[in-house]
């Protein structure tokens, strides 16, 4: 979707503000927000692509004014309600009122080290050989789906070169919507800055994206 999250090349946000000796967290609630988000992810009720899409669906004015942990919490509340773990009334009240869905697992303290150090790999085998090879010229598709995609707007309908075949991975455009993992080959595609930004671009600039095979057409 062409949501507020798709920020590449937008203007008006001012300078980047690096913070000297930035702490890991800026408030206690950020610590709890991290822990709650990861704990609820462990339910196994939704996947990372559905989570990302829930964040993208936050109203643009809210998304752009929220800190990232607030974005996480807003999206998490959407997911908890959508998947039957909490009602809107409970979320407003902050207390248990009705029994909801049971998760596949509840993350306990003893499980944390194992879960975090294992992670969640999302490479999957595919039967077909990759359609593209290193050095191939490819054009990204021009589309504007209302659903989830990982092809940013700035990189649509642009011509670049396949720099690497990175393996085959879960396809987020399907996985975010419960349509299955449907893995595809992923390629690093590099573009000259001028192809993307046109006049006045820094001549030394090259930008790459990691693109699923169905985002690409042969030139």
């Amino acid at each position: 979707m062409n949501g507020p999250h798709d920020l590449g090349g937008q203007m008006g946000f001012g300078p980047v503000a690096p913070e000297v000796n930035e702490p890991v967290f800026h408030a206690n609630w950020e610590k709890r927000a991290l822990g709650i988000t990861l704990s609820c992810g462990a339910f196994g009720a939704w996947n990372i692509d559905e989570s990302r899409h829930a964040r993208e669906n936050i109203a643009p004015a809210d998304y752009l004014s929220a800190s990232y942990y607030e974005i996480w919490i807003r999206a998490l509340e959407t997911l908890l309600e959508r998947h039957g773990f909490a009602t809107a009334t409970e979320l407003s009240a902050g207390h248990h009122m009705v029994d909801g869905r049971e998760p596949k697992r509840v993350l306990t303290a003893e499980m944390v080290e194992g879960v975090l150090s294992k992670g969640s790999a999302c490479d999957r085998p595919v039967a077909e050989a990759p359609r593209f090879s290193v050095g191939d010229r490819v054009r990204t598709r021009n589309f504007n789906p209302e659903t989830h995609t990982r092809l940013p707007r700035y990189a649509r309908a642009k011509t670049g070169v396949v720099e690497a075949v990175q393996g085959s991975f879960v396809f987020p455009d399907d996985n975010a919507h419960g349509r299955g993992e449907n893995p595809q080959w992923v390629y690093t595609v590099v573009f000259d800055g001028g192809e993307i930004w046109g006049e006045g671009v820094d001549p030394t600039l090259a930008v790459s994206i990691d693109a699923w095979e169905s985002y690409l057409e042969r030139v």
Partner: protein, 212 residues
């Protein structure tokens, strides 16, 4: 329509209030989920402790310093970064599919996630606020040289800049160039020179003079 419009405004007002105090909002959510048996508050503590004390940019600095001092390791990192990094004990969440990109005398690498906040947690820990904020995500791909200036980094005009937008599940670690004047230093000594920002590409490794 007037009454609908009024309701809509009222709804927005409530909606805004709900998130105006994040401390209270997150506390309410934690209380609700704990009462429902869906989360274990001790697990939250363990997650926080992991990223406050165990998983952070010192992990990545160890990887970089080893790459600087061990050509076989550097070659492994180019070929299979996930396995090479795992050999040092750094694995897991948001580091499942690692790629190392090496700065050279003529190319400087910068990593961004324009679409969300993808970041190599297993080697750098949690991303800094600026990495997740609109200013960096919007500008890193169109004006990386200007962004670098805001970090106090001025690159030579003819230095090529390569921006890696982390749009899939590959996570990128920049291997900065080893600073001059570090011959004979041990990997442990060199790791001190490797800043978090140098591994994102918004900084350079420190010189021995700057770090002393």
């Amino acid at each position: 329509m007037p009454s609908h419009h009024h309701d809509h405004d009222h709804h927005d007002h409530d909606h805004d209030n709900r998130y105006s105090d994040m401390q209270a909002r997150v506390k309410a959510l934690e209380t609700l989920l704990t009462e429902k048996g869906l989360i274990d508050p001790a697990a939250l503590d363990a997650i926080v402790e992991t990223y406050e004390t165990k998983v952070g940019p010192r992990n990545g600095a160890h990887v970089v310093a080893k790459a600087w001092t061990d050509p076989d390791f550097a070659a492994w990192l180019r070929k299979d970064a996930t396995a090479a990094i795992a050999s040092l004990g750094y694995t897991g969440r948001q580091g499942e599919h690692m790629r190392a990109v090496f700065n050279t005398a003529d190319t400087h690498n910068v990593v961004v996630c324009t679409l969300c906040s993808c970041y190599p947690w297993s080697v750098l820990g949690l991303p800094p606020v600026w990495y997740k904020a609109p200013a960096y995500r919007s500008r890193a791909v169109i004006d990386p040289r200007g962004v670098l200036e805001e970090f106090g980094v001025t690159l030579a005009q003819d230095m090529k800049i390569r921006v890696w937008d982390s749009t899939a599940e590959l996570r990128y670690l920049v291997i900065p160039e080893r600073p001059a004047g570090t011959e004979g230093m041990t990997a442990e000594e060199l790791a001190v020179l490797v800043t978090r920002d140098s591994m994102i590409g918004t900084g350079l490794a420190k010189t021995p003079e700057a770090s002393s």
